[in-house]
């Protein structure tokens, strides 16, 4: 098993505190008993050695239990109840150890140092103070232990937060790159460069279309809705640029019902489907083909259908799969089950993407 650095540091801190704490307590009690009760070292060392050994073992047992039973993932109430029971049990057991050892060593239920300190109290009062002593020792141990664990949790939380932020940044960057579609971008720029000397006005149009496409992509956010008409403007710019690249390999047929144009669609959704149709369909076929874009309103539903030829022997590319999955997930988040996205590959050599949205 491997341990992270903070975990090792906490373990070292735990054992240091455990040994030093019980060691110091032993020294204070045993030497105090020799001085104030005037008893031999051997007796006081035996009594408080037994007490501290018992305390050491029992508190360690408690720390193992807390860890293995995952007390810190319990709700606060459950944790407090368990802690109180543990404190009561620990304190009572430590008190019992003191009583038994005192009976054996001093033939009295009260330790010599307690007897010396509270000699003006009756035996019952001395017994109560002896219990208070065990109780206080237990409380101090639990307090220190909780503090140490809380500190470690806070540290780990911060670490996790930093890691999470980093992951989020990486994901955002990946998304941005995918949205910018670098393969398309550089090919379009290359096309523009070719057009400049011979067909400068077409080159100018291409630059305008390219900047509009980029602006639309950069300005869009995940949850934004736009009219279908607006989205199709972007699609048209994009298709003009792809037309530069693909030449006469790309034919476009549009069948957009006028009542569909004002329907709201998630920004970049149709665009993503069109990109897929080009990238995995028409661009992969030597003689190219016809891209068909249809939109209609049926009842309370907007239906957008994109049909394109695809290479016959090709499997669905991974990137196409994830792109579709992301789009479907986005629809689910925005509209629940009132929207759907389906890619139909049942016909050889053809792909149809169909989106249903609340109109």
């Amino acid at each position: 098993m491997t341990h992270s650095r903070p975990a090792v540091a906490t373990r070292v801190a735990y054992w240091t505190l455990q040994l030093a704490g019980w060691g110091l307590y032993f020294w204070a009690q045993a030497s105090g008993e020799v001085i104030f009760a005037d008893v031999p070292w051997s007796k006081s060392a035996a009594l408080w050695g037994g007490f501290c050994a018992g305390g050491f073992g029992l508190t360690h047992l408690l720390s193992r239990t807390i860890k293995h039973r995952r007390w810190f993932s319990l709700p606060p109430r459950a944790l407090i109840i368990r802690m109180l029971i543990a404190i009561a049990l620990l304190a009572s057991t430590l008190d019992l150890i003191t009583v038994v050892l005192s009976l054996v060593i001093y033939q009295s239920p009260v330790a010599a140092i307690i007897g010396a300190f509270y000699r003006k109290l009756p035996l019952s009062g001395q017994l109560i103070n002896q219990f208070v002593n065990s109780f206080v020792v237990t409380l101090i141990w639990v307090g220190l232990y909780l503090g140490l664990v809380a500190q470690r949790h806070r540290y780990e939380e911060q670490l996790q937060k930093a890691e999470l932020a980093q992951l989020l940044h990486a994901a955002e960057l990946r998304l941005l790159k995918a949205q910018l579609n670098p393969h398309f971008l550089f090919n379009a720029l290359n096309g523009v460069r070719a057009l400049i000397p011979e067909e400068p006005s077409r080159a100018q149009d291409a630059v305008t279309q390219l900047s509009r496409t980029l602006r639309y992509t950069l300005a869009s956010s995940e949850d934004e809705l736009v009219s279908l008409a607006r989205e199709l403007e972007m699609v048209n710019d994009y298709l003009s640029l792809e037309g530069l690249r693909l030449g006469n390999r790309l034919t476009i047929v549009r069948d957009i019902a006028s009542e569909a144009t004002q329907a709201r669609v998630p920004v970049m959704l149709i665009q993503t489907l069109i990109e897929n149709a080009i990238k995995h369909g028409i661009a992969e076929i030597k003689q190219g083909g016809t891209l068909r874009i249809e939109a209609q309103v049926l009842g309370a539903e907007l239906i957008v259908r994109i049909t394109n030829p695809r290479p016959t022997n090709a499997a669905v590319a991974d990137s196409q799969g994830t792109g579709l999955k992301n789009s479907a997930e986005r629809l689910r988040l925005l509209f629940g089950n009132r929207a759907s996205l389906r890619l139909d590959l049942s016909r050889e050599g053809q792909a149809t993407a169909e989106v249903h949205l609340p109109a």
Binding site: F186, N187, N190, E198, L244, R245, A283
Partner: protein, 236 residues
Amino acid sequence: MKALIVDDEPLARRELRRLLTAHPSIQIVGEAGDIDEAQERIQSLSPGLVFLDIQMPGGTGFELLAQLAWVPRIIFTTAYDRYAVKAFDVNALDYLLKPIEPERLAAALAKLHAMPPASRRETQEDSPLEQLFVRDGPRCWFIPLREVSVFSAEGNYVRLQWGRERPLLGRSLAALESKLDPQRFFRANRQQIINLEAISNIDLGLGGQLHAQLNDGSEIRISRRQARQFRQRTTV
């Protein structure tokens, strides 16, 4: 030098043509828009240099190279393909990113002119193969065949033993054998062809077999049938 432009985009071909007007030493003899066309043009025009796009419909530039019987000098061109570019960088293959910068093109051509010209013999159909393009996973190489010590059949493929590399070639051993220089390569057994120049020592084996120790430390068995031929070939 005769050059062929292979790219599926007419505008990209036009742009490269225009850029190459600044380099009169390069004579563009043709264009191709997909790998089948390219293969046919390379055979009929035997250009010394090919500008090769990676992403094309019907097959990538890499697939074209793997199909070619002989490979001219290649300068890859790509708009954006980080996997391919990584492979180029790792293997020091020449590539240009589109839109192509005139300076980068000039540098690539200067490097080309500094290299010894492709031998005339290479450009003939029936002459033996001198180098192979091999792509195995993310890595790719132009491998000079005289540096390969052993070709071993692995199913329908061939595993090359080339220095410390063991790339897999997408052809059968029989198909490859017909293209190899018979003066240099010898069929040691049903599974393997060895490079005669890579042999450092020959030991006698059981039943008339031979064991060839190669420079790279490997040992290849020469079957009884082939051993007779081997003796005839080598004891002049």
